[in-house]
Assembly symmetry: C2
Homo-oligomer: 493 residues x 2
């Protein structure tokens, strides 16, 4: 298969897919901002170091400094010798080391504080409305922005739209576009493997929040190319100033609006800030848990993603997740008019007013192919559970002599060159006993196939369950239903 | 195919199926009783004559008097020369000859009279209840008795049950068991042909009532064996005294009960008699019209019978008619617990108290085979509408030389020995442009099938739509999805 045919270099292509060959420097935030929501793993190296490494990545042997790939490899080697915390059992003395405390504070401690405060401070309706509006803005920024625009490039958007997504997306407190997009691409590429950050096979709880609340095993670290993201200054800007933007958009802005607007600083902070953020976070987490857990699998049942209206409802339409994993760069998640996908509507609307373009869709042909193949698979499984009668090739061959000797005694008749034992069926025959009795010991091919009665599909199935032998030199036809059709169409006499 | 192999005699078997060979005399009612609801066609000859004929039927040439088959033949010959009324157009001067006036009176005139009387005579609730009870008794007698017991022999029943069915069935004013069972068997054997008495292809109205209100064409007369019916004295008794029984059960009995019971003779006559009968008649007619008109076809779509909950509801459960035509001797019409089939429940209940036995069912295997084959048929139709890419055998064969020359320019790459044009797809690739670009001009089989990314079913479908040629001496695999599975299962390296 070689000669003058070049085969792709798998290692190089994998480096390409992981983005470890890029000249474009990886822009990373340092300090606490860089550690938010798991960014730590991605930014353990300095920006200069990554930029330097990436250039050398295609030719690793000569590199002065390490490439990302080499660094990952080194990490793996290191933890071959010593145990990483994630590989140790949880004990009374080490449990706190297992936990990602930063995330614990952001997605558990602060929300709990918010709920407790809310009990003693009922909401004003104006503040509730503010919370709702911000919920929609930040939620849509995650689904239409972080997810479909950035992680999947399913369309292009104008600067104001990208800025809106970057700002209100930061307000959802789910990490920067850069970090989020990276993890999400890794999730798509390694779905249901140890490298999948939200590996749904580890249970509902793990894929919902467990993965971010615990320290992951560096052995499973995977990378994906995000050079297209880092070439957008909006992404880089948001990543660099993530901490500031997050605190401002999530908490300060609602506090100020409610406070300066109608004097409800505290309500704005709790309802427009903490609780709104909590709801968006939980909704997004549902895409990793619920969407891999409940619902149907119209396109692929080898992996966990599923379609469910409930998931769609809580996630602005991200609930048709079986479709989405199959056609990730389609700007739609739901295809049917009655399925809930407001994110799709938003993108479509943006395109109508000129703020979005290049909306990507997969061909209807490809989509229907998938549906049909999956149906076929289900059907084949059901078929395999039923008894379809003996294959003609498995049957013994009898000569006429043998048939004639045994026919009357055993209750045999011939249809389409095949000998059938009808003794048990005579009494069951819906067309009466007499006709079957009169056919015993004879060839009833024509009678059965229309000359007396053109039998139903069901009758042909029953017939094949009665096969006992094949007639020597007979005109054997294993599909008697097709044979009957030929008689009826007068293709044969 | 002959030699010492006997082939059934189609003519003899057809005589058998039509019952024209029977020694058992056909018992017929004479006069008006014999003409009710279409019996005329069946009893045009005297009882003695038929009995005599039937004996000779297997050997028609020597018959002194005519067999039924010969009589039918003679009728046909006669109307080859002169036109039968059914073949003439309806005109102002002959329209009354087209109409079966007896049936017109029984199913139209009397009910109209009942409705008009009802306007001026509102019902008492006791009388309404009586009407309802008689409606259920007579309705069930038609479905569980006339239809499933007698026409289809789907179970055996004790004498009291048979008497109940014969009496209350007569009260439905739909003809005798004998006539009804005969027409019904003809309907099953000749469904959707000119010989089908209720031929649904002639429209809803014709199959509902038109067929019985007009004079049928004797050319289309068909017969079915009912010797099993005439061997039950209950059937013969009912047929012989049909007129008396019908009038008594349909009209006299309710009039007497309501009159002697609570002094409401007139109400008993109208509501318990005329209107109750009207409702049962219409319900039964729906099995011939509605059940061949609305609903789904899970078992067979070549013919008109259909399954619909509404039909089931108005017909005591006879609405799963697609199933019924496929499995006519099954005592059930509906299989699922949530489907409405009180007739099935009644039969099952009778069997539990020892009044019914030998309940026939088709094997679950045969039923599921039918469902699956029908699904397969639908799927094949959908498949045929889609583009599945070029067949490998239709593609031109290129040598490596040719591939290498054209690859870069045209954007070609090789997967599984097949050359694909990916130029238009590069920008659409959900995994990014770089990977596809880097694979152009090369063999990307392994990369595509898991070494870089194990592609979805959808990706494999898209791939086959990009086929342009086959590589000379290449390891051609047309099903790349299976190939990928082999790589993933490590069956190949
Ligand atoms: C031994 C294999 C046979 C099987 C499994 C079989 C099966 C059936 C089944 C399931 C039906 C119900 C209606 C339908 O499915 O279309 C039926 C009806 C019928 N069969 Fe057969 N049959 C067999 C042999 C025969 C033969 C040899 C004859 C004639 C020579 C015959 C004549 C009829 C007739 C006339 C009906 C119509 C009954 C009606 O719908 O009223 N069958 N048969
Ligand atoms: C030219 C034929 C190709 C087609 C039709 C194709 C199609 C697709 C499709 C439909 C996806 C979406 C996810 C999925 O379906 O599994 C995808 C993703 C991907 N493809 Fe391809 N691809 C092609 C070639 C390649 C090649 C040659 C490579 C690598 C050398 C590659 C690498 C990837 C990767 C890494 C992803 C993962 C993207 C993600 O889920 O984030 N593809 N491809
Ligand atoms: Fe997912
Ligand atoms: Fe996604
Ligand atoms: Fe029917
Ligand atoms: Fe029937």
């Amino acid at each position: 298969m070689s000669d003058n045919l070049e085969v792709v270099d798998i290692t190089k292509l994998n480096a390409l897919a992981a983005g470890t060959n890029k000249r474009t420097p990886r822009v990373v935030a340092a300090g606490l901002g860089g550690k938010l929501m798991g960014t730590k793993g991605l930014v353990n190296v300095t920006a200069e170091q990554i930029a330097d490494d990436s250039v050398k990545a295609m030719d690793t042997k000569n590199a002065k400094s390490m490439t990302l790939a080499e660094k990952d490899e080194l990490d793996k080697q290191k933890y071959l010798k010593i145990q990483h915390i994630s590989e140790k059992p949880w004990t009374l003395s080490n449990w706190y080391q297992h936990i990602n405390w930063l995330n614990m504070i952001l997605v558990v401690v602060i929300p709990v504080y918010g709920f407790v405060s809310a009990i003693r401070y009922p909401p004003l309706w104006k503040t509730t409305l503010l919370g709702l509006v911000l919920y929609v803005f930040s939620g849509i920024s995650i689904t239409a922005g972080y997810h479909r625009l950035y992680a999947h490039k399913s369309y292009d958007a104008a600067l104001p739209v990208r800025l809106f997504f970057a700002l209100f997306g930061a307000g959802a407190v789910e990490g920067s576009i850069k970090w989020w997009g990276h993890s999400h691409r890794v999730h798509h590429r390694y779905t249901d493997t140890p490298r999948d950050p939200y590996d749904a096979r580890q249970g509902f709880w793990y894929s919902h929040m467990g993965w971010m609340l615990s320290i992951p095993n560096p052995k499973n670290r995977a990378r994906a190319d995000i050079s297209d993201l880092t070439s957008d200054w909006v992404v880089n800007f948001q990543h660099r100033h993530y901490l500031t933007l997050m605190v401002f958009m999530a908490l300060v802005l609602p506090t100020l609006i409610a406070g300066l607007g109608w004097g409800d600083y505290w309500g704005g902070f709790i309802y427009g800030g903490i609780l709104k953020t909590f709801v968006i976070q939980q909704a997004t987490f549902c895409v990793n848990s619920l969407a891999h857990w409940i619902g149907i699998q119209p396109f692929d049942d080898r992996r966990t993603p599923r379609d469910h209206a409930v998931t769609a409802f809580v996630t602005f339409g991200e609930g048709y997740h079986n479709f989405h994993h199959e056609f990730p760069s389609d700007y739609r998640n739901a295809l049917k008019w009655y399925q809930y996908d407001p994110t799709k509507i938003t993108i479509w609307f943006l395109s109508k007013i000129g703020l979005a373009w290049n909306l990507k869709t997969f061909s209807q042909n490809a989509i229907e192919q998938g549906l049909i193949q999956q149906e076929q698979k289900k059907l084949d499984l059901m078929k395999a559970k039923l008894n379809w009668g003996s294959q003609v090739s498995e049957l013994p061959v009898w000569d006429r002599e043998e048939f004639n000797t045994r026919a009357k005694k055993e209750g045999l008749l011939i249809i389409a060159g095949i000998i059938h034992n009808v003794s048990k069926f005579i009494k069951e025959h819906p067309g009466g006993q007499a006709l079957v009795r009169a056919s015993i010991g004879k060839d009833a091919t024509k009678a059965f196939n229309g000359a007396v009665y053109a039998h139903s599909n069901a009758a042909h199935n029953l017939l094949s369950s009665m096969r006992v032998a094949v007639l020597q030199d007979g005109d054997v036809r294993s599909n008697t239903f097709d044979l009957q059709q030929e008689y009826l169409d007068k293709k044969i006499e």
